[in-house]
Symmetry: D2
Subunit: 339 residues, 4 copies
Amino acid sequence: MRQEPVVGVVREPILDIAHLGHVEMLTPKPEESLRFFVDVLGMTESGRQGQSVYLRGWDDYERYSLKLTASRSSGLGHAAFRARSPQALQRRVAALEGSGRGIGWHEGELGHGPAYQCRDPDGHVIEIYYETEWFEAPQALRPALKNQAQRFPARGVNVRRLDHFNGLAVDIRANRIFFEDYLGFRLTEQIVLDDGTEAGMWMTCTNKSYDFAYTHDHTDTPGRFHHVTYALDSREEILRAADIFLENGVFIETGPHKHAVQQTFFLYVYEPGGNRVEVANAGARLVLAPDWKPIVWTEAERRKGQAWGLKTIESFHTHGTPPVAEASGTDAAQAAPRR
Amino acid sequence: MRQEPVVGVVREPILDIAHLGHVEMLTPKPEESLRFFVDVLGMTESGRQGQSVYLRGWDDYERYSLKLTASRSSGLGHAAFRARSPQALQRRVAALEGSGRGIGWHEGELGHGPAYQCRDPDGHVIEIYYETEWFEAPQALRPALKNQAQRFPARGVNVRRLDHFNGLAVDIRANRIFFEDYLGFRLTEQIVLDDGTEAGMWMTCTNKSYDFAYTHDHTDTPGRFHHVTYALDSREEILRAADIFLENGVFIETGPHKHAVQQTFFLYVYEPGGNRVEVANAGARLVLAPDWKPIVWTEAERRKGQAWGLKTIESFHTHGTPPVAEASGTDAAQAAPRR
Amino acid sequence: MRQEPVVGVVREPILDIAHLGHVEMLTPKPEESLRFFVDVLGMTESGRQGQSVYLRGWDDYERYSLKLTASRSSGLGHAAFRARSPQALQRRVAALEGSGRGIGWHEGELGHGPAYQCRDPDGHVIEIYYETEWFEAPQALRPALKNQAQRFPARGVNVRRLDHFNGLAVDIRANRIFFEDYLGFRLTEQIVLDDGTEAGMWMTCTNKSYDFAYTHDHTDTPGRFHHVTYALDSREEILRAADIFLENGVFIETGPHKHAVQQTFFLYVYEPGGNRVEVANAGARLVLAPDWKPIVWTEAERRKGQAWGLKTIESFHTHGTPPVAEASGTDAAQAAPRR
Amino acid sequence: MRQEPVVGVVREPILDIAHLGHVEMLTPKPEESLRFFVDVLGMTESGRQGQSVYLRGWDDYERYSLKLTASRSSGLGHAAFRARSPQALQRRVAALEGSGRGIGWHEGELGHGPAYQCRDPDGHVIEIYYETEWFEAPQALRPALKNQAQRFPARGVNVRRLDHFNGLAVDIRANRIFFEDYLGFRLTEQIVLDDGTEAGMWMTCTNKSYDFAYTHDHTDTPGRFHHVTYALDSREEILRAADIFLENGVFIETGPHKHAVQQTFFLYVYEPGGNRVEVANAGARLVLAPDWKPIVWTEAERRKGQAWGLKTIESFHTHGTPPVAEASGTDAAQAAPRR
């Protein structure tokens, strides 16, 4: 049937965030973690500063997409989104300053300009910035085709680019509303329990069906990290990645298999620092509709397991970083008072 | 090196167009063309009206993405873009009305609301609309996963969704400026000859690296059509499509091979009506940078042929629809006076 | 290190069996089973006789590779191997007649000449034949390339050709020795429990790493069937098959995943009659060594699960056809006299 | 229709050759060639002796499959086939000694036992052996799965195993008869010109559709080499190989595309020494029929080009190694006496 004209009743979307820029991962085993990302995932080191090593996939256009920081425990340091324009950045900062969750401006980070940081309701540190440094490949890494950021490494898993990150949260609904209202993210899919509790959310600011996700932390520990995901071109490349993880003694938690939610073809492993890392197919699935209606998954539907019937393993709901015992006193935990 | 702050000097982008919605293809052999799209490409018929049959890929969220219209010749009837909001539609119409290229509002099309039509400088009919009818799969076509528009057909090539269209144009530069200024498209790649003449342009309004392209018509005939492209998930599926085209006696013009421009993995065939159709991998290549700097290809670079060395065949620059001899008097040609 | 010369001490291999020719599957739901094999797996009906329908994959060179027979229960009717020459057939028959397991000659089967039937130690009916009818594609099924048996159907899963079958057996060792001594099959991999009991065997008469396998029936019921496997070209095609099974409501038992044994990329489903059917990648793995040394898997190694860590599900050791309750006195249990 | 019984009239096949074991490639640029095979193709060095470096793909079960020998020109040193048994080796040697083409026994080669050498009618040196050294992976190259020869390298193109070689010959028919009569190879496909001249032959001793091929040398120079082929698992991997060759500045002669003959999905490049190297999908296409009837391709059929319409390039019929100017008196031309 035909929709009724809706001119005037539709609120225009906020389009100020362009994309996920990078994720800072904390690791208690910096050397082993670095070797994993460079030798096994096939990433390229593109900078060092203090306790951090900066890494990139061959198709990331910015200088880096992963900041690997030596720390006493594992987890998410922060996640950073690039604003669409200088004005868009100012608009979002103005909104966040009125949210009571702002932390303030952060200067002098390698590779990008002034960034404004805040904490989401669960305590994860989120930052937004506009100015950025485009990666300029040194001679040895120059690609054959000028429309590519860096030559294809042909080493290990050859991850292409950062795709999304997944955080754990105690209160999914509170976080969804925060990201919708203050940053303009759109919800594409979610899990809602029979009692109405929201248990998972997938949000986007691009045509990708999600740029980040939050799922419920069954341990009720705030500020934890579930995983970061790097994109590969095809499902076959994820299968090959599994072969390579096996050869390299990397722990495969689950997969390769296809999620019912978002239909992502996934493979989860643990990097040496204990953080979960996913490789997934960026695939052809895009959300082009500007008025996409969120897909709501029920408990009954989730009980069916993944798309092809694989049961979701228990650790998927409990393994987060940092480990619960080490969570208190972390950057994330310090958020508590603010919540 | 670090970029200088640019706050204030950057003009904010126009983000009013959401995506390419559908393409109307004219065919002098409606029955054969329909069989090609349904039996060989694996598309689904989702409507009929007058001389037109409406078709869709299994992942198109709107009712259709291809309007196949019986006509005395081949070519492009029109290309339609969906606006991001009712307000966005009004803004673009206001701009177009001041452009001298507006045609006016068009009502009563199957599957979408009021559309405003205009002609680009080369005479192609372009329309924009907002209200649309989401495809509701009948029982037999209902998918197993609720986040999918329609069940996977498992028939023929199984094209996923409309990806882009490519028009031929006499004056590329004039068209680029029109789409940038009045519709807010961004140029991602272009071909510029040694004398400064623009010979090809690839433009986007999404995170896809292009939603449409125009290349120079070596016959200098205005308003012609080069091809429409449907997306498949992987390069392997394009290879399988080639096997299927071969088995079905479909003429393969060139490919499968990889374009240097946009790195698209392509395969071009002619449908029975004479129009060129491409299947390509939607792939993982996205343009996420809001300030992407257009890639400029030179004559020397183009002479190298495609990415892996295949020479670009002559017909690629001359075969367009309608045939030159039939071009005069077509919808497209009627644009002439208006130009 | 260099091997010692072994001239004269090596017994020459028996090379009389060329390949697995076809499998007869019994089904209590002949119509539903037929629809599964034709519409979902993409096979082609190539004959009917009595209670049987004959089916083929597009790359099977003989008239058929699957004989689907209506029966009161499910299971394996018989498995047939083609001899390498008329003389080879005579030699094997002479050997079998001395084995005490011979049943006798069987004439008049559709598509092939005289076949000699016998029972393996577990009671499965095995037959060998030489004369065969090559498939001659009718006009509508004629391929574009003359070195292909039949055009690619582009329907459903598009299985390529019969790859192997897997039987359940109470005494694996006795069956291994029978197939080695009387038919000349070579063992490529096996599972041997800590107490020395053989629990699984994979045997070949070609360069494929196995043409059939037997695994231990945990219910200790003789003559049961585990699965038949059809080959696809790549792992990606098995993933697509999973999508198609999901869309068609076919029960997926386990997979897609990679076996440690033989490294087969597998996907198991149940056809409507209850028989397990596998689609797997024929892949590039070949056993070229004429003196291949069998790979022996221990209990500890099997406990690790499949290649990438997936646990082997319980039903894989217990679900066989016919169901245990229906096994006694089934066609499979003592078919020959009745046929 | 049903074939007539043929018992007694069929000559039993000779099954004494098990498979192609290795190829010796001559190169005037040994260091650059070695870097190509190790860094770009992803092969592993497994020995050195005199002017030769021995290389292997990760799935080759013998110590090596390529002997790369420094020489004043390029070309084929020799091709070696492994016999099926010691007795089979003796039978073939006895036959060759009666052929007038025998050279004699060759001892002391790295990795295998006594080999008997001969020249085919075109002058290529062919050797057969039985005793061989199985590759034993050092700790660093040990695979995770015990049924694999070596761990997957995850470097460059990752070629799996030697697949076949292709020689150029002046008189194809004479060579076909030689390989059929004295070594027992079976012809699976061939090209026969309108005047009856044989222009190409594809022969096998396994279930692969060919283990070597000879095509007519349009320069009428004897003993030249066309290419050696390494297998990859899927067509997608050949496409990725093309990306990697492009990044590494390797000259791509033609492909990726699909041959009509044998349906091989091919990609041809030149290694630094000038020899043509192919990577192709080992794929699922097997010749299982023991009485396969050779496919004969006519001039008219060949004029259609490759499977999907790509025209066969001229250099494919003329570029061989060594270059014609260097062919007379090369190692390849009269190697034996000197070795």
